[in-house]
Point group: C2
Chain length 96, copies 2
């Protein structure tokens, strides 16, 4: 089991522009047969700080996600509105 | 709905000492009637980087958690083995 926290930092003047891109990315990723969970959250103290909480069976499933049409099309469009670089943490459950 | 990411950074020589404390904290927190989800993960690149993924109905439930006997007893014991300060992000789901 692979858990991922992916954090985006978006320009505050671009939030309305990224929301439909995020919505499409979430909807299409949840349709991927290997996706277990894929949720997008927003920092209560920073409306431009977006946090993906992801669950995949393994690294191969995450790699396949990053090669999908929707990921390759939508993520560069989202990243065009970044105010700083995104960050990633890959994790495993502490207790089996 | 309130989602929380709480991150602890533990000394690498103390991991065996904190694991039973974390296990008890997770087990007792999951018994709290207001807890929706409480999962502890470990960074795949840093065995001392512990990440709680939490879901609560609201801020009052999180505040009540922080006042429980198990939280007030176990968290200071865990924090004694920190190598740097813990961090917290409080979040809401991006899409209802």
């Amino acid at each position: 089991m692979l858990k991922v926290i992916a954090q985006d930092f978006i320009r505050l003047d671009a939030i309305d522009l990224v929301m439909p891109l995020y919505r499409e990315l979430v909807e299409l990723t949840r349709l991927e047969p290997l996706n277990i969970d894929y949720e997008l959250c927003i920092d209560r103290e920073d409306p431009g700080h977006f946090i993906f909480l992801e669950t995949w069976p393994d690294r191969a499933a995450l790699d396949a996600h990053c090669e999908t049409e929707h990921f390759r099309r939508l993520v560069p469009q989202i990243d065009a509105f970044q105010r700083s670089a995104d960050t990633y943490i890959q994790m495993r459950p502490a207790f089996a």
